[in-house]
Symmetry: C2
Subunit: 343 residues, 2 copies
Amino acid sequence: MARRPSNDTGTRPVSMADVARAAGVSQQTVSRVANGLPNVNEQTRQRVQAAMQELGFRPSYAGRSLRDGRYHSVGLCVNDVTKFGNLSMIDGIASAAREHNCAITLVEMSKTEEFSLAEATRRMAALPVDGIIIGMSRMAPDFETFDPLPGIGTVIVTMYAHPRVTTVDSDHYGCSLLLMDHLFELGHEQIRYIGGPSFSVDEQFRRAGWRDALERKHIEPAEPLEGDWSANSGYEAGRYLAEHDRTMTAIYAANDQMANGAIAALRDSGLRVPEDVSVVGVDDSLDDFVAHNELTTVRFDLHQRGREVFEHAVPEAGTAGKTVAIRIPGQLIIRHSTAILRA
Amino acid sequence: MARRPSNDTGTRPVSMADVARAAGVSQQTVSRVANGLPNVNEQTRQRVQAAMQELGFRPSYAGRSLRDGRYHSVGLCVNDVTKFGNLSMIDGIASAAREHNCAITLVEMSKTEEFSLAEATRRMAALPVDGIIIGMSRMAPDFETFDPLPGIGTVIVTMYAHPRVTTVDSDHYGCSLLLMDHLFELGHEQIRYIGGPSFSVDEQFRRAGWRDALERKHIEPAEPLEGDWSANSGYEAGRYLAEHDRTMTAIYAANDQMANGAIAALRDSGLRVPEDVSVVGVDDSLDDFVAHNELTTVRFDLHQRGREVFEHAVPEAGTAGKTVAIRIPGQLIIRHSTAILRA
DNA sequence: CGTCGTTATGAGTACGTTAACAACTTGAAG
DNA sequence: CTTCAAGTTGTTAACGTACTCATAACGACG
């Protein structure tokens, strides 16, 4: 594309030099007025401000960034905006960014292509970012070997720890322990698991927590079922369990949507929740969609996670340098889908 | 903050000049290699690429943008990321942006402060954006008087038309007509309305469509009910209607979540859906949350809307100049929450 | 009357990039 | 040998900003 003409007849954006010419001062004085510096004569200031208004001056982001080497924006790379986990990540980071007067540069990776950290980093590096955040909802093939770009803060949102990159996530393992302990206290031992797709990192950790909790109590875990996070897949699994497992007394579904489906299936099979079977989920995501939500679940503080992620990606406050792995615990929300096991 | 040292001992980012020095060529040759231009000797190219690798060169976004006056990013301003409407807007725009090899610069406005178009524009204008998209989910106080910034494409996502700004939205008025016609064909005339909060622009248009459809058939609209988009508010409204209106034969809830709540309320009141009362919603948003979703609704093509919004904000293909108001029709999805009215 | 500090302003420079143009090399054709 | 074209590389300028330093005017003070 042809450059804009550099005289003032074209549609080139208005620069400080243009304002300076109109106000009869130097470009530097315009800069001082634009930045509100004190050492400008009041009369001059007003003349410059009038010229700015007149010409419609807006400061050049490129010029400013080039000059002082910062973008005041953080890069965020996700593979699918619509997934609950990603959405809540965006929201949490957006509010942290706003507190730091920062914008978010959002890049959605192709949903079809293979996702690699190197590719994500390469794309983000060419954008106006002071730090890079990568949501890794499924295991990247190059996770082990990945080296972050030197000179730019990088955070991966995942449960896995990495030797050279800070990682932050809600504790998708610990949430299982919270729920399992709750069920154990109610007397349940035969606790079936309905998981998400096995390529999901969150799923892997939630399932591991379920399995470990059982094994710690020397209970043999029954075969876990695999859904796709949707209520329908939870329904199918619930139906299957209702028909094939008469010893089961509780179901742990790896998210609320599948739990909701499972509850519907149990009731359609003539089982009562929670009298016959207790059901728990994760995410606390049903409230807007279901009236009188009674599901016992774990809620994550997504804003806190967003804040942690942001502050490690853009190390202003001296958080720099150290590579850490942060796991933010969830909070058990007990409602009425769980009850004491009756003998 | 102090500038980075300009010699090569500090942590200043690696520039083309640094690479040029290392490879023993001119900085311009580095530029040619970086941009893959053909007129570079193969041997030279390899030497330069090796130096880039060695030093960890990444091109400066600021330098490039300053040079060629484009940012390859579109600004998106929303007031709350988590609301269904905004989420789907982000998703649609993100995929359109990716097709144009563009990033999104996302700014979330304060949820508490008053929202004005002038303020949103002012914030976006200081960021790296080739175009500005503003989601106006509630009426801005300065909508009438708002003037877009000259020299930068601006699109407002709203149903209202504007004389000087292109506006794009899903047709929140037409969706009501689709649903009402469907109910009319089934023989319903006493159709109650459960709306969202009245400050919402979407709500205003959905309600207007309901009212106009009735009045066009000379049916007096009964008092509309006001919810807050949540299933619980739909439940409350449904309960009220079940107890107070024995002539009603159908309910139009302004979104699926409230419709879902209303259905639960009707059933709790001993009414059958759809045999006794037909219920419809809007958005087609229940599938992930509810098993065996049977709700008749309207689905919007949010990716198409995203594409329209994007292409009017960043006028590459000659869409420039003209101010238009685009309303993208939804599609009626008939499931089993509606049935023929029995006398 | 000179020295000094204070205040207001301008000049010069550097940030990293790419377009336009100039310059040089090489090889082939006349 | 001269001329020309093609291929390769370097030089210069410009994009808009803000820091550093210099300059000028002015009053206070010794």
